[in-house]
């Protein structure tokens, strides 16, 4: 017969584990990367503070690449479809992902949006992330290149203030360069700070509005598309 007491005796179990909390995101990001590789599409993730000119840069990039490369765009915003509408006016496919308050895009959101896109003949897929220099840094979206925009009206102190974003940046675009004469902003100081955080960052200075530096950006972009297609075709022929 069991003797009932109120004395609780606990058995303690300790599980030593190593469970990455972003594993699910990173796994889906790899799936996206594989699919984009198979489809020969260059995937770029555009990140920046709100208002630094991501959508304007895309509009001008699409205008300049018309007839040369086919572009599709995924737009991320907390609310509204305004950005996707702006992009569609340029005659390209754009899908709006409304995050309803989430401060970043996650790989799963991209994966869910992909079946609604027609990737036939597409050379570049741009993802315009939610305007935020903090959270999007931690979420791999399967991109080939992470492009971080810094507008000269924001100030040249961003790399040291938001280091995790610059650590994962491949190319930094200094935007609104037509305003450089009117603001206390040093391109050299910005690049120096960015390189102290991440020595591999490439930097371009441009103005989507006036067109300065846009030729270099377009040439750079076309070169990256070419590189990706070459890598892919060499892999195909070797196997």
């Amino acid at each position: 017969m069991h003797k009932l007491t109120n004395k609780a005796v606990g058995t303690i179990q300790v599980h030593d584990v190593s469970l990455n909390l972003l594993k699910a995101n990173d796994y889906i990001a790899e799936m996206i990367r594989d699919e984009m590789k198979e489809r020969n599409i260059l995937l770029l993730n555009l990140v920046s503070s709100p208002g630094s000119g991501k959508t304007s840069l895309l509009e001008e990039t699409i205008r300049r690449l018309k007839g040369r490369l086919n572009i599709a765009v995924l737009e991320g915003d907390l609310e509204t479809e305004r950005d996707a509408i702006r992009i569609r006016e340029q005659g390209v496919q754009a899908l709006q992902i409304v995050t309803h308050g989430t401060c970043h895009l996650e790989a799963q959101m991209i994966q869910q949006a992909m079946p609604s896109m027609n990737f036939e003949g597409i050379d570049i897929l741009f993802i315009e992330n939610v305007g935020n220099l903090v959270c999007p840094a931690s979420y791999d979206l399967g991109e080939d290149i992470r492009v971080t925009l810094v507008s000269c009206t924001e100030g040249d102190d961003k790399p040291k203030k938001y280091p995790s974003m610059f650590l994962t940046t491949d190319v930094m675009l200094v935007t609104k360069s037509d305003l450089l004469p009117y603001v206390p902003f040093s391109v050299d100081a910005l690049i120096k700070d960015a390189h102290e955080v991440n020595s591999h960052i490439e930097a371009l200075v441009l103005s989507s509005l006036k067109g300065d530096g846009m030729d270099e950006w377009i040439t750079w972009l076309m070169e990256k598309v070419k590189e990706k297609k070459e890598v892919n075709s060499s892999v195909t022929t070797s196997t």
């Binding site: 606990g10 469970l19 990455n20 909390l21 972003l22 995790s164 102290e196 991440n198 020595s199 591999h200």
Partner: protein, 118 residues
């Protein structure tokens, strides 16, 4: 800024890792959070109290260990603690590009207590 999504990820990850019968016995969840993960440890603990309310983890407590940045020099291959986000080797001036610690965002220990009556 995305502490709530991280909390949901903590709960989901443990649900996958443990047997469902053990979930209610989870007493402590230990995390390692790198400085570069952009997660505020205090805010995370605060948010976790709300996240666990609707879960099987009513008695679980969150413990967070913050991990400083440690990186290796490209040239002299020595490792240094990175201060003020200056990823430059203090000895030879080359980039400290290989981050060994500081990026992590993981659960490293789960403590369960199974109550039995003697």
């Amino acid at each position: 800024m995305h502490e709530l999504s991280i909390c949901q990820s903590i709960l989901k990850t443990i649900e996958v890792e443990l047997d469902s019968k053990d979930l209610a016995n989870v007493r402590e969840i230990h995390l390692k959070v790198g400085v570069l993960s952009n997660i505020d440890a205090e805010l995370l603990k605060y948010v976790f109290e709300f996240a666990k309310a609707d879960s099987s983890f009513q008695k679980a407590e969150l413990h967070v260990e913050v991990v400083e940045i440690l990186a290796t020099c490209e040239k002299c291959t020595k490792s240094f603690k990175v201060e003020k986000y200056k990823f430059v080797c203090p000895e030879c001036g080359a980039p400290l590009s290989n981050i060994i610690e500081g990026n992590e965002l993981l659960i490293n220990k789960i403590i369960l207590e199974e109550t039995s009556y003697a």
